[in-house]
Amino acid sequence: MGDLCLDPASHRVTRDGTEIELTSREFSVLEFLMRRADEFVAKSEILENVWDFSFEGDPNIVEVYVRRLRKKADEPFGRNSIATKRGAGYRLSSDG
């Protein structure tokens, strides 16, 4: 997807050939956003899919994970691929 590359088999993510170190949960969030690329995905939807239906933590946890993904996969490369829309959720643009 653009120059952002995710390999579910080896659990590795690279952008522009540079490897990005992600925890398994960060990986899952990014994977989910990629699967639903170019559409806004609600926080609750992410929680249900990446965590599970019985998630009992603080729902704001999603914000923290998205912030971390931006910090790791966007900022160092001067990108802005994850958009936020109040009330609608997050969108990963497919051009990376």
């Binding site: 170190e21 992600l22 925890t23 398994s24 949960r25 960060e26 965590w51 998630f55 009992e56 933590g57 603080d58 704001n60 946890i61 923290v64 994970y65 971390r68 790791k72």
Partner: protein
């Protein structure tokens, strides 16, 4: 080599090997060299100064006589200050004596073997008639006057110079060796006194074995290097003693913990063996298995603690989501009866840590809270200012302030009556703290808003 000879050699070697002897010898050598050099310089300088004085007197006298000659008023008998040490002679160009000091009036020309030099040409001459044994400083100068060319010879004995020089040399010949001996003796005594506590310390340390770690080396009570050495050594012995006590206590407590499951298994098996036909084998096996599992857990805990004492826990440190760990461990404990675990305060927190040790830490904290809570355990996780902080609250009876550090010690069980039913070995919190510290973090205990205890774990957040 004969034994007595070898013994003597060894003694000599030990003698020269002692700091005391080496220091005294070195100090003596340095002082002796310096003193001898200074003495030689002193004698040379003194001699030169005194000789210069004599030369000055000789030159002045020559000046006087020259003036008299030029004025043409030279008396036949010339006066000298001291007839024993000075002489004056004036010759005309034919070598005839025209004037002399009274002590050499009846003598031949002194200048026979002297050629006139310039005004500063003073030579040392021996065999001068008034005192053949003494060296003289002699000035020979030619003077042109209206009446012709004269040769002026003025001399002065070096007798006084030699005498002063000799007495100085005599003084130094005895003084320098005496000083050297004093320095040698003084250094030997002082160094010996300074080092005597070291020998005391050495003897005491040599006597301390692992059975007598309570012994201490004598402290000289001074704040010098040796006093500090003794103090440092005693501090080290303190630490050794404490470490040894800790280790002995650990071994004792560990054995005690293992003894009760062993005893219980033995009893059950023995009872069954006495009455094999009516023995509830199935039941016994289940009970024995439970005890074995318990023992296995204990031994694993012992090993972990022993490893953390020996070299730290180490482990593979990778980037981990502590929130995942906390939620998973909480989920695993949810089947605990009568206790609700509230994880709604668990937000994200990332740390670098060991993927096996951190879950264990969290599990130990949750188990502890469940054990002592009445109905609720609340977990909160957040990340702020570079720290990931996990708080575990329970609504039990809490831990009074003075016992807070004790709960992290090994085999500690507060409120022993309750604990027997809880069946903990008192290692969970000790292990939790050891893991926290191995991750550069801290584990503390506070008052919970729920009324019970609040365990606060803080670990530096992981940076990717």
């Amino acid at each position: 080599m004969a034994d007595p000879v070898r013994a003597t050699l060894q003694r000599t070697w030990r003698w020269t090997a002692s700091i005391r002897v080496r220091t005294a010898a070195l100090a003596t050598l340095v002082v002796a060299v310096a003193l001898v050099a200074a003495a030689i310089a002193l004698v040379v300088l003194q001699r030169r100064t005194l000789t210069d004085n004599v030369d000055t007197a000789v030159k002045l006298r020559a000046q006087d006589i020259t003036s008299l000659l030029i004025a043409g008023t030279l008396p036949e008998e010339l006066t000298v200050l001291n007839a024993e040490v000075s002489l004056v002679q004036v010759l005309d160009d034919g070598g005839r004596i025209v004037g002399a000091s009274e002590n050499i009036l009846d003598l031949e020309s002194l200048a026979a073997d002297l050629s006139p030099g310039d005004a500063t040409d003073i030579r040392t001459m021996s065999g001068v008639p008034i005192d053949v044994d003494e060296d003289f400083r002699v000035l020979t100068r030619s003077v042109e006057t209206a009446a012709g060319v004269y040769t002026v010879v003025v001399g002065a004995s070096l007798d006084e110079v030699n005498e002063s020089s000799q007495s100085l040399v005599n003084l130094l010949r005895w003084g320098v060796p005496l000083l050297v001996v004093l320095v040698a003796g003084g250094t030997f005594l002082l160094v010996g006194r300074a080092l005597s506590p070291v020998e005391g310390i050495r003897r005491e340390v040599a006597g301390i074995t692992s059975q007598q770690l309570a012994r201490r080396v004598p402290e000289p009570g001074t704040d010098d290097e040796i006093g500090r050495l003794a103090r440092t050594m005693n501090e080290m012995l303190d630490r050794l003693e404490i470490a040894q006590e800790k280790q002995e206590r650990f071994v004792g407590d560990a054995s005690h913990e293992l003894r009760s499951p062993l005893a219980s298994m033995r009893t059950q098996v023995e009872v069954d063996l006495e009455h094999p036909d009516q023995a509830p084998w199935q039941e016994t096996m289940t009970a024995v298995q439970e005890e074995v599992v318990r023992m296995q857990r204990l031994v694993e805990d012992f090993l972990l603690l022993a490893r953390s004492d020996a070299q730290g826990l180490g482990g593979q440190h990778e980037l981990l989501d502590l929130d995942d760990v906390v939620l998973a461990e909480a989920e695993a404990q949810r089947d605990a009866p009568a206790i609700t675990i509230d994880t709604s305060g668990v937000s994200a927190g990332q740390v670098r840590g060991d993927a096996r040790q951190l879950p264990r830490l969290v599990r130990n904290l949750i188990e502890n809270a469940i054990r002592f809570g009445k109905s609720r355990v609340v977990l909160t996780l957040s990340e702020a200012r570079g720290l990931t902080v996990l708080a575990v609250d329970d609504d039990g009876s809490g831990v009074p302030g003075e016992q807070r550090e004790r709960v992290f010690e090994r085999f500690t069980r507060l409120d022993s009556a309750r604990d027997r039913e809880h069946r903990g070995a008192g290692l969970g919190l000790a292990i939790a703290r050891a893991i926290a510290e191995a991750h550069g973090g801290a584990l503390e205990i506070e008052d919970s808003a729920l009324g019970g205890a609040r365990f606060v774990l803080s670990i530096p957040s992981g940076r990717s």
